[in-house]
């Protein structure tokens, strides 16, 4: 296969995936999106002969636009731009999960600090304020008091980019000191881990300790439905256990579309890059099959 990799920074995750794909004999086209241009019908990126492009952009905005342009040229891109659009925005992410009936933390969005304050007061303390775009636990606020809420809202309104004036307020879920990250391909779990910390933020990027997690039937069902809700693909589905670590009940707080997997690869016995490469091979084969069928239709039409 001839596989394109959209990137702007090669993390350990991309190195693992590139090594796996090369080891299997696939030809790789690394596409640094910072160096390319995208017009309405073509691009300077060398995508013409690619069987598949996998989006590994570190920058969400670049991911959103680059995948959208490539898809418009008929290039098969994973994850699809529609999935990226939902996952890149926490409000859209929450809506998609709720619309699919997937349990997700109660959330309100408000556009002024006064309305946001009302939302915060209605949740009570503590509650959580998150940026709609962002990752790795950055700029997340656990709000313990009205005084803190007023200060954070004023700072966001005064200093923030316009997206910080979309106030995303969420109930505080009293998780058991950990959350669960499941990496899945089209809803099928590849591997899972817990991320534990004494801090309320347990992200691996924030130093949360990782440990392998056995996905039970309930979590498997939620991962499948959450994946479908955002359009499928290679995803990182984040769940919190509600009612204690052994309750078997979860709430899905987020689905990530350019998921990192180096921590998961180290925390579990699963060869995550190999499983991702397996999936990419299946997706490329399916895309080639679709193209072939389309060609047959064209020939009949002619």
């Amino acid at each position: 296969m001839y596989i394109g990799v959209l990137y702007s920074r090669i993390r350990r995750d991309e190195k693992l995936l590139l090594a796996e794909l090369r080891e299997r004999g696939h030809e790789i086209e690394k596409i640094d999106v910072r160096r390319e241009r995208f017009s309405l019908d073509s691009t300077t990126a060398n995508v013409g002969d690619l069987d598949l492009v996998v989006d590994r952009c570190l920058s969400t905005s670049r991911s959103l636009y680059a995948t959208r342009f490539l898809a418009s040229y008929g290039v098969t891109v994973v994850n699809a731009p529609e999935t990226a659009e939902v996952c890149a925005d926490k409000a859209k992410n929450s809506l998609a999960l709720a619309e699919a009936g997937v349990p997700t933390p109660a959330t309100e969005v408000a556009f002024t600090k006064e309305a946001a304050m009302e939302a915060i007061e209605s949740f009570g303390y503590p509650c959580v304020l998150k940026p709609v775009v962002g990752s790795w636990g950055r700029l997340m606020a656990k709000i313990d008091s009205r005084n803190a809420a007023e200060a954070i809202l004023e700072h966001k309104e005064t200093l923030g980019h316009y997206e910080h004036k979309v106030f995303y307020v969420q109930e505080f879920v009293d998780k058991p000191g950990r959350d669960v990250r499941v990496v899945a391909v089209d809803g099928e779990p590849v591997a899972a881990m817990t991320r534990s910390s004494d801090h309320w933020l347990t992200n691996a990027a924030k130093g949360g300790e990782t440990e392998s997690f056995a996905v039970d039937d309930r979590a498997r069902d939620l991962v499948e439905r959450a994946s479908e809700a955002v359009g499928g693909g290679l995803l990182g589905v984040d769940l919190m256990e509600v009612g204690g670590a052994d309750s078997g009940e979860y709430t899905v707080h987020e689905v990530n579309h350019t998921v990192e997997f180096k921590a998961l690869n180290e925390a579990t016995d699963v060869d995550v890059p190999a499983r991702v490469a397996d999936w990419l091979e299946r997706r490329a084969a399916a895309a080639a099959s679709d193209d072939s069928a389309a060609d047959d239709v064209d020939e009949v039409t002619i």
Binding site: Y7, S8, P131, G134, W136, H161
Partner: protein, 62 residues
């Protein structure tokens, strides 16, 4: 003659010192400078060129 297991040598862009990179280094990869601790981006491999990596931006993540 170099092989794939030979370390890659490069000039540290801030101090000008010669530093060693992993043999499997990739264009686009970020390396922590062993001299200054600064994050360096691998711009090219032939010749090997390093630059200070871009600062973290707000929309970076997964």
């Amino acid at each position: 003659m170099t092989t794939e297991t030979d370390p890659v040598l490069a000039e540290e862009p801030i101090t000008g010192e010669e530093i060693e990179l992993p043999a499997d280094v990739e264009v686009g990869e970020i390396i922590d400078s062993p001299v200054t601790g600064t994050e360096l981006e691998v711009i090219s491999l032939d010749p090997v060129v390093l630059e200070e990596a871009p600062e973290l931006e707000e929309d970076w993540g997964e």
